[in-house]
Amino acid sequence: MQRPRTLEQALEVLARATSSARLLAGGTDLMVEFETGRTHPDVVFDLWGVKELRYVRAENGGLRLGSLSTCRDLLDSALAREGADLLVLAADEVGAEQIKNRATLGGNLGTASPASDLGPVLSVLRARVRLVSLRGEREVSVDDFWTGYRATQRANDELIESVFIPTCPRDERRGFRKVGTRRAQSISKVVVAMALRVDGGVLQGVRSAAGSVAERIVRLSTLERALDGQRPSRALVSDATRDSARVDARPIDDVRSTARYRRATLQRVAEGLILDLAGIEGAH
């Protein structure tokens, strides 16, 4: 058990970390794992005290969010509401107020849950993750950061220092939708984020990602390819979302939902979001 207070201390203790070490931030995931006996860690690094990682600040060309920023911090930040609107929307739906006060951005990234509510939004917002260690620092896109089911490319000695969100194009339209059935405190069954521009009647820069439909957060690249540069029509959007739900999603049946429901809902929700953002009437 180590409880560093500064980034420097954190990097020093992490330098000796092995793969069995667990990094504790706000505890909303890890404490459940401990309690249910799924994890019996020997080595835990409690990062909660590294207050310098709790910030939201403007940076050249975008916004930098410290990894220990909580969902509540994001909601309370005028900068975040302005520069990462979709992320704030998603942060508001992560859980109850009690959870939002502890759940952190870095914890969310590091846990790499396929059901992460923040995940699809970070992907659509082109977020980049800054990893630091005594060896140096590097920045990777979130799409590359997640490598599989609850897996990331963070090395044992690295710390998720922050996330950079580049400034969104001025005319970009964005949407987010979480489907959890229960309206609060739910783990998502399907979560979708979408961004696009409409330029002279043509769709540009379509970006979309979804959670809870595969072993990790996935980009809906089939949909993006099908729509980019096209004039939107109901038929086109229907076809694109259908293809995407068939190709990009790899959902499973589990205790919360069915693969069929996840796939169908991904298609229906994505279709509605696109029609809505593109200004086309009524999804169904």
């Binding site: 489907v179 609060a184 069929r260 796939r263 279709e271 509605g272």
Partner: protein, 729 residues
């Protein structure tokens, strides 16, 4: 003017609850206590061969008790003696208790439990109630001649409509998990337990059988209890015996507290059901014959299934008039964890079925659902399926008038064509629920309640009826204060302790107010006569009465109202002394992209006879309705390989504030002359109507007839795709 009844009294236990001072079982500090846990089967069916104890664990740190340590009978005393306290051989369900283990600390206990592996020869399990041929109970109710009507059906003047309806299980989800503390036998050989429970005398009966002791040597005290809803009716008998057994073996107090996961995995839930309806109906909507087949999955042991089936069958024809009725009911055995009591007790399942069948009939005949109900609803003087003539306190017309006035659902074009992503719907359910035990139950039980005065002239009420949120203490206080004309602060309700209160029967079946409260009113009437009239306040007269040596001890044994007759052999007669009547209207929105249902508004008109404490009655109706709303569309609850799948609170979801509609509750009071101040029961009633009202509203919104509860988004999607195959991916 005393306004205790019909007014607002403070909850006697309220200050302790809002300050956190109320002591629930987990809050009790017990000197020298060890903690105990349970080794369980990890298969649905098999034969226990033995146990592997990990040699790496230091077994001297724990105490282990198996079935051979039980001094009396190895069984859970309930209706039928078929359930062992600890399984010795044949395993009948997942999570069946095999051994009890005790340790000084929770950490040691957890390690010990992980180090014991039962060796089990797995056997094929019966997990399909429709395939099971092993019966716990069969019930037949016959009225008139259904076959003659069906034979005359011509498809025009008389049509026959069929439907099959299913409900999944449902978890009670009291927020306080089950728990007990037990003490080893004292010098007199008395075993004592305290815990979270509804029925102290049920627990006592179990202890007496398991330990071979007399009643005075089995003391049961209820701790503050954090919700029950039926879930703490029968299971506490199991847990209390386990804890008491270990206390006896260890010779020290034992705390046995389930965590949420264990509670969800092994405690009883609502019976899954399959109900078939075949109905002959005249072209004007009159019900001519109802043929109803009720099937309940009882799980591995009998527990309460016979009585759940009884209530289910009696309510199966709904609150409707029909000359020819045939009801056949079966509760069958499977290798599921035993299903048990949950608010409604069989009625929510059959109410869902009959109300859906009424909607199906309405669609077939082109009638508005309201019109069909108005045409057939039981009114005063009508005869129920069991042949009971409804003469007393029949509020059917009143609740229907009120619900129509408030919602105007009769003028709403049901199943009208809609467009757009969000579809809206209104749905009605009309229903009744018998108050008190079924048939001769109360006559056989002879529930007792006692009052006496203390030296200060305060009234002490002794009853085994427990408080677990519903407001028992406040309701009793109001009845006593009103009956005696005394100040509510001068009423003292004794603790539910089997050494201090008589057996008032279990706190179940919407019987506490009408049955026990009724006896309490009688006891007070006699006390008032003894104390005598006078200008002084009651307490002063009472104090003087006690000081002059007056005998204030009065015990009343319940007797059924005159004229009630019930034949258990034929299931004919007066099934209940009185019924609560109600109508619910649900207003929903359904999103066509996610098939999530949002209940916007929920209106109830409920005839409770008399609302002893209106604020609490509303609280019962709102709370029960929300449980029904959860049952209708949210609370997915599934069994797989004999295991309850939603075994964490993160997956076993119940509604939050944001899933809650605006409630509009109308209390209707059609007094019942044999209830206290006219009161009937209210506890279970609001659980019955929510599911069918919401299913009806969903049908209004989507044009889809859902016949399986809960109507989860997954099920709604499948039903929608079946009706709109072009939308299939």
């Amino acid at each position: 003017m005393n306004r205790s009844v019909g007014g607002v009294l403070a909850r006697p236990e309220g200050p302790a609850k809002v300050t956190g001072r109320a002591l629930y079982v987990a809050d009790l500090r017990v000197e020298g206590a060890w903690v105990a846990g349970t080794v369980r089967s990890n298969v649905a069916r098999g034969r226990l061969l033995g146990f592997d104890f990990d040699p790496a664990f230091d077994w001297k740190r724990v105490v282990i008790a198996g079935p051979e340590a039980i001094p009396g009978a190895n069984l859970v005393a309930m209706i039928v003696d078929d359930q062992p306290l600890l399984c010795a051989d044949a395993i009948e369900h997942f999570g069946e208790p095999l051994l009890i283990v005790a340790a000084e600390t929770p950490l040691t206990l957890r390690a010990a439990l992980a180090a014991i592996r039962p060796r089990i020869e797995v056997r094929p399990a019966m997990l399909d109630m429709e395939a099971s041929e092993q019966l716990f109970k069969r019930i037949a109710i016959d009225k008139g001649d259904v076959e003659a009507v069906f034979a005359a059906a011509d498809g025009a003047a008389i049509r026959v409509l069929e439907g099959t309806y299913r409900t999944d299980t449902q978890e009670q989800m009291y927020i306080e998990p089950q728990g007990f503390v037990a003490w080893p036998p004292d010098a007199n050989g008395t075993i004592a337990v305290t815990g979270s429970m509804q029925c102290p005398y049920y627990v006592q009966k179990s202890l007496m059988r398991a330990f071979g002791v007399e009643a005075h040597n089995a003391r049961v005290v209820q701790a503050a209890t954090g919700g029950g809803f039926g879930g703490k009716e029968d299971y506490p008998s199991v847990l209390a015996c386990h804890a008491a057994l270990m206390a006896r073996v260890c010779g020290r107090p034992i705390r046995m507290l389930y965590d949420r996961h264990e509670d969800l995995a092994v405690t009883p839930k609502r019976h899954p059901s399959r109900v078939r309806h075949r109905t002959a109906v005249a072209s004007d909507g009159r019900l001519l014959a109802m043929d109803i087949d009720v099937l309940l999955d009882g799980g591995a042991y009998t527990t309460l299934s016979p009585v759940v089936l009884s209530r289910a069958c009696i309510h199966a024809a709904g609150a409707y008039r029909c000359e020819n009725v045939r009801i056949r009911g079966r509760a069958v055995a499977t290798n599921h964890v035993p299903f048990g009591a949950f608010r409604g007790f069989g009625a929510p399942q059959v109410c869902f079925a009959v109300e859906r069948q009424m909607d199906r009939i309405a669609v077939a005949l082109g009638l508005h659902p309201v019109e069909l109900r108005l045409c057939n609803m039981l009114r005063r003087g009508d005869v129920t399926a069991t042949g009971q003539v409804l003469e007393h306190s029949v509020g059917s017309v009143e609740v229907m008038d009120e619900i129509l006035a408030r919602t105007k659902i009769d003028r709403h074009p049901w199943r009208a064509q809609q467009t757009g992503n969000v579809r809206r719907g209104l749905g009605l359910a009309f229903f009744f629920h018998g108050a008190g035990f079924t048939g001769s139950g109360e006559a056989l039980l002879k529930a007792r309640v006692a009052v006496e005065l203390d030296r200060e002239g305060c009234v002490i009420v002794r009853s085994a009826s427990t408080e677990f949120g519903q407001g028992t203490l406040t309701m009793f206080t109001a009845i006593v204060a009103q009956a005696l004309g005394c100040d509510a602060r001068d009423v003292i309700i004794a603790d539910a302790d089997t050494q201090g209160v008589p057996n008032s029967g279990p706190t179940v079946a919407s019987r506490t107010c009408m049955i026990v409260g009724g006896s309490l009113q009688k006891a007070c009437a006699e006390l008032l006569v003894r104390v005598g009239p006078g200008p002084a306040p009651f307490r002063e007269r009472a104090r003087a009465f006690v000081q002059r040596g007056g005998d204030s001890q009065i015990e009343i044994t319940y007797t059924s109202p005159p004229g009630l007759a019930w034949d258990d052999a034929t299931y004919r007669g007066d099934a209940y002394p009185a019924y609560g009547w109600a109508a619910d209207v649900a207003e929903v929105e359904v999103s066509l992209d996610s098939f999530e249902v949002r209940v916007k508004r929920f209106t109830s008109a409920v005839d409770v006879g008399k609302a002893i404490q209106p604020q609490m009655v509303e609280g019962q109706i709102e709370g029960g309705s929300l449980q029904a709303i959860g049952f209708a569309h949210l609370e997915a609850a599934t069994m797989k390989h004999g295991q309850f799948q939603q075994n964490r609170m993160a997956t076993c979801v119940i509604p939050t504030t944001l899933d809650t509609p605006t409630f509009d509750v109308a209390l209707i009071e059609v007094p019942f002359e044999h209830g206290p101040f006219g009161a009937k029961g209210v506890g279970e009633l609001p659980m019955d109507g929510g599911a069918p009202a919401i299913a009806s509203a969903i049908e209004d919104a989507l044009g889809i007839h859902m016949d399986h509860m809960p109507a989860t988004p997954e099920r709604l999607l499948e039903a929608w795709l079946a009706a709109h195959p072009k939308e299939e991916l």
